[in-house]
């Protein structure tokens, strides 16, 4: 049997989900969409149940990918029983979605979450009365303390009912529903959806095309506006009947500080910078520690084994890939995601998006585009996946270019490994400066030449909360899993191919061919260009390959400072790694992926050549 959790964003759905299912959660795409669906199993009285955490939505009649997905999920009867989670502190808005849900007539129970928070704000809600009005069981709960969470499953299994509450629509809408039903055997729900342009029956659509303008003419409002108005009105009436608000909500001074015109942007920049620096420092320490352990436990013993050369080469490549993924990238990425999860759970991320709206507009996106850009500093792969939350194709195209250029943790490894180590911190920071400058320039240009319309930001500010450690760890773990599941396998395969090529002597062959070009354009020796090329498979591998091909870890002995600097700049800029390219193709299509790869390739070589011209 399958149960579905449904509700608005930020109502504590995920928390309830994790409390009910515990460990062993599976994240997958809903067939035919890019929307994530979390599934978990639980046992109740020896019966195995599957619980699905549907994405948080505002409406069942919208056209965002999440809303369409949840609508299909409910209509296709993919879950036997629905568990609707409402936020007791925002009952009215949450009832709006519930009233829509009621029209689907599916059996459900209602969980009235955040009762503790509501009590703190002086809101009292009569759950019994609410239950009587809605015609379904209402469980007052507080997921954060675990209050009544254990009651949810038994209620859903044995006492779920179809809600009896109805929205009385404007008489013209009701008349139109009847007209549609006379012409065509449709349920009330189907007729309502048809009136809002959902559904494909040509006969019904023709009728709606005739009816809607007349109604809109009489009301001077669109049909969608009338319907939404009626629902909000009903939600408001119900909320007023069952809840009692003792006092005004106190104005949150912290919030007003965070989003004000003067202090907001300063705090935002300070927060982002300190996160980047903290990740840089903590990541470096962890990396050193993990790499030395890895060397001691795996690589040295492996090299001591008597093996034939091919097996040794491939085995070493495999171990190096593991070391790179778990020892080098992991510390940076995990630390980074920990901080991002804190930002997200505390509700600051939505404020950051708001504050960045102006700057992001210049780059052809809006505030929400900041989130994938920030995620890109961890690993480009999940950041590109995050692009999906942008609404128009234009914004997704621009974001895919910019995110692919953001220096991810693997590129940070190169910057830290050779530039900071041999040339000092200012030189390392200048590479960040160049890269971010180019990101901004690219955005400015793209925002002018990319076709398509721009649709602005409509973003609910998540309430400011003190994040709980357990939630942050869970969230960071889910993010890092995307990296482990998607990027790691590619990394290992790429590393094995590289090992094989090295064994087959491909490097020497390639080096001879590329040497004249690379020396003329970039002023780099042939082996450095070879190393750059293999950076495509894995960014930080450019550094390893360079060390292997140069035959020494003491690079200043064989390369000038200028060459080291150029090497770092080019490897940071040019072509995203193969994992990023793979995800790009999935999210924005092959054409844009090719464009992004080509653009960054040209840009990397161009900037490298430019620096070469200036400093030589």
């Amino acid at each position: 049997m399958r149960l579905g959790l449904i509700g608005n964003p930020n109502v504590g759905k995920s928390l309830i989900f994790h409390q009910l299912t515990g460990i062993g959660v599976e994240v997958s795409n809903y067939p035919g969409t890019t929307v994530d669906l979390k599934k978990g199993n639980l046992c109740f009285k020896h019966e195995k149940l599957e619980l699905v955490d549907l994405p948080g939505i505002y409406s069942l009649e919208g056209n965002s990918p999440e809303e369409v997905m949840v609508r299909t999920f409910i209509q296709e009867k993919e879950a036997e029983v629905l568990i609707a989670v409402l936020d007791a502190t925002h009952l009215e808005r949450n009832l709006y979605l519930l009233l829509q849900l009621a029209e689907f007539g599916k059996p459900l129970v209602v969980v009235l979450n955040m009762m503790d928070e509501a009590a703190k704000q002086g809101i009292e809600i009569d759950a019994g009365k609410l239950s009587a009005i809605l015609g379904v069981e209402v469980i007052p709960a507080a997921a954060i303390t675990g209050m009544n969470v254990a009651d949810i499953i038994p209620a859903a299994l044995f006492r779920a009912r179809s809600p009896s509450v109805l929205v009385p629509y404007d008489h013209h809408i009701e008349a139109a529903i009847r007209s549609i039903q006379q012409v065509h055997p449709a349920t009330r729900l189907q007729a309502l959806q048809a009136l809002q342009g959902i559904g494909t029956d040509p006969e019904v659509s023709a009728l709606v095309d005739a009816l809607a303008p007349e109604i809109e003419d009489m009301h001077r409002m669109s049909v969608a506006q009338i319907i939404a108005g009626n629902r909000h009105h009903r939600a408001e009436t119900i909320a007023r009947e069952v809840s009692y608000d003792k006092g005004d909500v106190k104005k949150n001074t912290l919030d007003s500080l965070l989003t004000s015109r003067r202090s907001g942007p300063i705090i935002l920049v300070a927060v982002l910078l300190s996160i980047l620096i903290a990740v840089f420092l903590i990541g470096s320490v962890l990396e050193e520690f993990l790499v030395s352990i890895f060397d001691m436990l795996f690589i040295s013993p492996f090299l001591a084994l008597p093996l034939n050369p091919l097996v040794r080469q491939l085995g070493l490549s495999f171990l190096l890939a593991l070391q790179a993924g778990l020892g080098i990238a992991f510390p940076f990425i995990f630390t980074f995601y920990l901080f991002i999860s804190i930002l997200e759970d505390s509700g600051y991320l939505t404020r950051a998006a708001f504050l960045a709206d102006r700057a992001m507009h210049r780059l052809g996106m809006h505030g929400q585009g900041l989130i994938p850009l920030i995620l890109g500093f961890g690993c480009n792969v999940p950041a590109i996946m995050g692009i999906r939350l942008l609404r128009t194709r234009r914004e997704r195209v621009i974001a895919s270019f910019l995110v692919s250029m953001v220096p991810c943790s693997a590129r940070t490894v190169i910057i830290a490994g050779i530039v900071a180590a041999f040339m000092g911190l200012p030189a390392a920071l200048s590479i960040y400066g160049i890269t971010l400058g180019l990101v901004i320039l690219t955005g400015l240009v793209l925002s002018r030449i990319t076709p398509g319309e721009q649709y602005g930001m409509i973003l609910e500010m998540a309430p400011l909360r003190l994040p709980s450690l357990k939630n942050i760890l869970t969230k960071a773990w889910f993010r890092i899993r995307e990296f482990l599941v998607i990027a790691m396998p590619l990394l290992i395969v790429a590393s094995l191919i590289l090992g094989f090529l090295q064994f087959a002597g491909f490097f020497t062959f390639f080096q001879q061919y590329i040497s004249p070009w690379s020396e003329a354009i970039l002023g780099l020796p042939g082996y450095a260009a070879t190393a750059l090329l293999f950076g495509i498979l894995r960014k930080e591998m450019a550094l390893e390959t360079l060390v292997i091909l140069a035959g020494t870890a003491d690079l200043p002995a064989v390369l000038t400072m200028g060459q080291i600097y150029i090497f770092a700049v080019v490897s940071v800029l040019f072509i995203p790694c193969i994992s990023t390219i793979g995800v790009l193709a999935k999210v924005v299509g092959a054409r844009i992926t090719l464009l992004v790869s080509f653009y960054t390739l040209i840009l990397g070589i161009l900037i490298g050549a430019l620096i070469n011209l200036i400093i030589v």
Binding site: S64, A175, S222, Q225, M457, I458
Partner: protein, 209 residues
């Protein structure tokens, strides 16, 4: 039957006959007035006796010259009143239309004529105060902290997300913060929503006390 009911029926018949060349059907009339067919049928029979209309076979209705005169007059009164209430006095369109439905039955012909003239040339008659009709204002025109009411919305590509969040005509909102580029946080139904300037520019609002 009451005069107002008679006038409403004749007005509806005029609107329907204007829209299509065929005489309107009882079903169409019932839909337009949102009243059950049986009730309409009773009223129609009474009006046929007064000579306002003829019920043709096939449930179609033909309006007589007298009926048409009355119907058109009421229709005009409705339009003039609605226009006055919404465009000049700034009432919400929907409310203005409802109000016009009530007032139209008691408006004298002279008052109608004078109102009509006034609407055509409002500036000449307006002495003293603000001479032009207030320009519709959007969220962009108000400073932080304003208490506002949504008047209407015109979003390219629909405003479903705004509607779902409770931002719709008649709703009271508070402008919490604005940035330099007029991106803003608005408070609606107990929570905060951040919107871009291009979204704010299609939400028409007015001050509330």
């Amino acid at each position: 039957m009451k005069t107002s009911a008679r006038e409403d029926l004749l007005e509806a018949l005029c609107i329907l006959s204007r829209d299509s060349p065929d005489p309107p059907t009882i079903a169409a009339l019932s839909w337009h007035l949102s009243k059950p067919e049986d009730e309409i049928r009773d009223h129609l029979r009474a009006l046929q006796n007064q000579g306002d209309l003829h019920i043709l076979p096939g449930d179609r209705i033909e309006i007589s010259a007298v009926g048409s005169l009355i119907g058109n007059q009421v229709m005009k009164k409705h339009r003039v009143l609605e226009c006055f209430l919404s465009d000049i006095l700034g009432m919400d369109r929907g409310t203005a239309s409802e109000e016009a439905c009530i007032l139209e039955h008691d408006l004298s012909d002279e008052a109608l004529e004078r109102l009509d003239q006034y609407i055509a040339r409002p500036r000449k008659r307006w002495r003293g105060g603000n001479t032009s009709r207030p320009h519709p204002q959007t969220l962009l025109d108000f400073p932080e902290g304003s208490e506002l009411k949504v008047v209407s919305m015109k979003c390219p590509g629909g405003c479903q997300r705004l509607l779902d969040m409770g931002i719709l005509p008649g709703e009271r909102i508070r402008l919490v913060h604005t940035l330099d580029n007029k991106a803003m946080v608005i408070h609606v139904k107990g929570y905060d929503v951040a919107i871009s300037p291009e979204i704010a520019s299609c939400i028409y609002v007015e001050h509330t006390e």
